[in-house]
Symmetry: none
Subunit: 422 residues, 2 copies
């Protein structure tokens, strides 16, 4: 089934919030055989909203509307849907009772959360609606099945705030379609580092173009690429894994060296897991990244088992006094050099008494370039008891991108070390 | 002028990424007299995309398309726009040269980020396009002005990745419309910290509802709120500042204590500027924030004049050995305590020989809570030669939010110190 998600709210058109509701549903809908073909955002305006609803009814089977179910005059979704479908709005005593109960429970949270007569508007729903209770707010959702121009359409109304919408979607909407569907879907995500999107696509273009089931879709994210491989299968007769296996096999043969995960997970999580599993203690010495690398790894809860600490060594004095980089190294080779990276990595490893020390020093820009070293030049060092090495990179882009790419490459170096360790 | 933003990409319809491009542009467009009426997301499908483009051309003046400018078979935006407008695609030698140069700069990063023949596709643009160079990737953008059914329409193509789209939008698109407009618009942004959105709105609701020129629009961001005050004025006869002044006056009277900037700038930039201007050297000792605070301040170019370095002290050993937090303090009060925060701030100030030392120690969660200290408990210390103090907070939310709020509050403490210094 094809779906469109219409988010209703001027605040979205002012850029105040992102339409995360649409992403959330889009990611989950395929689980129950619903495929999202369009997202639309429209303001709190009855005529424009009605036009959007009519367009959606003409091009998809399932129309989901989020937002505009509140008590104020701006909230037009139910009225406009009812008009578009030619349905009356019906008063639901039990919804009003639920709203009253909700206010009773939450009245101590804030002195301004009091029920007004406006809230009665929230008890009206289009006739024939299957009501979806809201445990986290006052706006109930609903599912309406209705013929439009001879075709059966499903129209779903959900509240806008994600903490209200998401549980309602999971509990009622997904289940509604699962019950209806005989076909299933299973996706595998191959995450890669060290290859660009177009190079990857060139390597496997024959596989992509010859596939219909499973389908293969490439994605690019800052510095990383991903393939989504999705099999459609009959729940009664097929085994999804058997449909996926031969294609995965081919992809691994061509791209295996770049693949760091077969689920949709970030490299920092993969690296953290390896470090924790293998009990590899680490510490970092950062210059141009200014703490970003430490921050990235400490995003992962539980990392305190192996991460002891870092030094952000911005000034040369800190590099010398705390990390014990030699004065002569800084003088002869400069702070952005292979030799400084090596000494920083050694220095932090010894200072924090860890198995591994990682260092990053570079020119994040926009200033700081020299005739020999352009903006984007970065050295990454890795030090263990046995050996200390450094790698040279030249990244393009702005300060933020250069810093981020430096961290991704350092993360990959750390990941490869952890992988190689028996 | 009315605008619609069409994001092209199946990855958006799979929920892999949020359509942050649309939010970014929606927020900024009003500055140059363009008002966003619709967001649309459509997949990498030529027919559906063409229908969306035609619909947009029929209902708005400005159609912005993001994404689908890459080198792969999936990337259809230019071809489809050209078809919808009846324009040819023209090869641009200099764009191909730019792409080659981009690969030249970045070729050492990874042996597989190599230019393929696919990339030549990226040098074709609809005839009559004003080309917008991309400094952060290979896909140039363009602006096309073209008559459709007797009406002049502007169609703008931009790359999808935010770090490519945002600088291009700021540098070329905003400027393009600013030049065209006879009516001027001037916006002042009041940025605030320490007050919630609804509390702020309550304080000034009478001012908001009585204003038509300038208009007042509130925005809320993680931990911060902002007002955009926008005056429309005739470039020949009006003085925008005179239209803004009385309203700004009223707003400052009610909200002045929370306002940290009157332009759309982040607190880290305000703080960095103050530190640099007043030559206040700083160093940080971070525990739960794991480098985030250092990373935040070092986002600002030029900060190396006053920021010397930080220690991310995750383990107690690092707190003791490097920051010289007393063993007895850690034993008796714990790593998350006011006393530890004080000693960390003193320790880093002395270690890095700076005027100010800032420390952050807390429980970012999801684990680590104790009966006396819930997840979200954070202590922030500030140390100067004269005095060392600490502040206690209890933040709600997940790990990321707690870390981020900790950094914002630490930044505010640093800002207030710098402000107070004569």
């Amino acid at each position: 089934m094809k779906a469109e998600i219409i988010a209703v709210g001027t605040e979205l058109l002012m850029g105040q919030i992102n339409n995360t509701d649409a992403s959330y549903m889009s990611k989950k809908f395929p689980e129950c055989g619903v495929f999202v073909y369009y997202h639309t955002v429209v303001g709190d305006n009855a005529i424009r909203l009605e036009n959007c609803i009519n367009l959606a009814l003409s091009r998809v089977d399932v129309v989901v509307l989020t937002g505009g179910l509140g008590p104020t005059q701006d909230d037009l979704t139910k009225e406009t849907v009812a008009k578009a479908l030619g349905l009356k709005l019906i008063f639901h005593k039990n919804i009003l009772a639920d709203i009253k109960a909700y206010f009773e429970i939450t009245k101590y949270n804030s002195r301004n959360t009091i029920m007004t007569t406006n809230n009665e508007k929230q008890a009206y729903y289009p006739e024939g609606s299957l009501i979806l209770p809201n445990k986290n707010g006052t706006a109930a959702g609903c599912i309406i099945e209705h013929q439009v121009d001879g075709f059966m359409k499903t129209v779903i109304l959900l509240p806008g705030p994600p903490w209200e919408m998401e549980p309602m979607f999971d509990e009622y909407v997904i289940e509604h379609f699962k019950k209806k569907n005989s076909e299933g879907l299973k996706s595998v995500y191959l995450k890669m580092f060290g290859i660009g999107e177009s190079a990857m696509e060139t390597l496997i273009s024959d596989i992509i173009s010859s596939q219909t089931n499973p389908t293969i879709a490439p994605y690019a994210k800052k510095g990383e690429v991903m393939l989504r491989i999705t099999a459609r299968y009959d729940k009664q007769t097929d085994d999804a894994d058997k449909i996926l296996a031969p294609v995965l096999d081919m992809l691994y043969k061509r791209l295996g060296q770049y693949i760091y995960a077969d689920i949709d997970i970030e490299m920092k999580d993969v690296t953290a897991k390896l470090l924790i599993e293998k009990d590899i203690t680490v510490s970092f010495a950062e210059s141009c990244t200014g703490g970003m690398f430490s921050q990235m790894l400490t995003d992962v809860s539980g990392i305190s088992n192996v991460f002891t600490g870092s030094v952000v060594a911005y000034s040369n004095e800190v590099k010398e006094n705390i990390l014990k980089v030699k004065h002569s190294t800084l003088e002869n080779y400069g702070a952005v050099s292979s030799k400084t990276a090596v000494e920083m990595a050694e220095g932090i490893r010894k200072l924090c008494k860890t198995e591994i020390g990682i260092s990053i020093t570079g020119i994040a820009g926009p200033t700081g370039a020299t005739p020999n070293k352009p903006v984007g030049r970065v050295y990454i060092g890795i030090s263990s008891e046995k050996v200390t090495e450094s790698y040279e990179y030249t990244f393009s882009g702005n300060r933020d991108k250069i810093r981020y790419y430096s961290c991704l490459h350092a993360m990959n170096i750390l990941r490869l070390y952890a992988l190689s360790k028996g």
